[in-house]
């Protein structure tokens, strides 16, 4: 497969990432097109040390970060109200602060990380998060931005940012437990 055909096959997965992160279809389409075009214009820069998908994803990440920074002041993320935070935590813990349901050890996570189906399940779980949680979580974990940078960009307090990340992580581990590891045990 030549590089143009290979890039064409990457369009959809890259677009999915960009849409999730930017929550804006035309902006997502723009960054993906720019990414693919940048590779097509200077294919010699792709030295084959990683897969083309890895290389393209790296470029896409930087383009998404650029857009987020440019739009940072326009993005309005509602801080969580105290009540909604408490409600979420109440569901996980008993009144004495112990887990309501004992979290089990996940068996053979290294095998899961080798399976495309696991990543489909992960994506499904991320898609089920409230959009603002998914957004902040992906900025932290997928774009690997530092927490101070995320709070600054989105103009929320670092405490609120931490609580949102906490909620996202707790919901995702619950979702993966239910949809993957419970059946895999």
């Amino acid at each position: 497969m030549d590089i143009a055909a290979e890039l064409s096959s990457l369009h959809q997965p890259l677009l999915r990432f960009a849409q999730l992160q930017l929550r804006h279809d035309s902006l997502a389409e723009d960054v993906v097109s720019e990414t693919l075009l940048a590779i097509l214009e200077t294919p010699e820069r792709f030295e084959g040390r990683s897969s083309l998908k890895t290389y393209a994803t790296g470029i896409l990440k930087f383009k998404i970060i650029d857009v987020l920074r440019r739009r940072g002041r326009e993005i309005h993320i509602e801080p969580l109200g105290e009540q909604s935070v408490e409600d979420a935590l109440d569901a996980l813990f008993a009144a004495d602060g112990h887990w309501r349901e004992a979290p089990p050890a996940w068996q053979h996570p290294e095998r899961a990380l080798e399976q495309a189906q696991f990543f489909d399940t992960l994506q499904l779980c991320i898609d089920k998060l409230p959009p603002k949680l998914a957004r902040i979580f992906m900025m932290r974990e997928w774009l690997e931005l530092e927490i101070d940078g995320i709070c600054g960009e989105l103009q929320i307090t670092s405490n609120n940012c931490s609580v949102m990340l906490y909620r996202a992580r707790m919901q995702l581990r619950e979702c993966l437990q239910l949809r993957w590891f419970e059946g895999a045990a």
Partner: protein, 66 residues
């Protein structure tokens, strides 16, 4: 006089917050000590620590486009 070990006691709810916070920045020494003390005694929270590690590894792998 209060017992320092008693002061260090945290429950699973507090430990889960610290486990998440530790993924974003180094914990203050007091929090780190409390968390370690809790993890020593609580296998459920050790499981959650492992789960959060898997979640991070998975996202980083996804981010690299592997």
């Amino acid at each position: 006089m209060s017992d320092p070990a008693e002061d260090d006691h945290i429950d699973c709810r507090a430990a889960s917050h610290l486990l998440s916070a530790a993924q974003d920045a180094p914990l203050p020494p007091d929090d780190e000590r409390r968390l370690l003390a809790h993890l020593t005694a609580c296998s459920m929270c050790r499981n959650v620590q492992g789960q959060l590690g898997v979640l991070r590894d998975a996202l980083r792998k996804l981010g690299r486009g592997d």
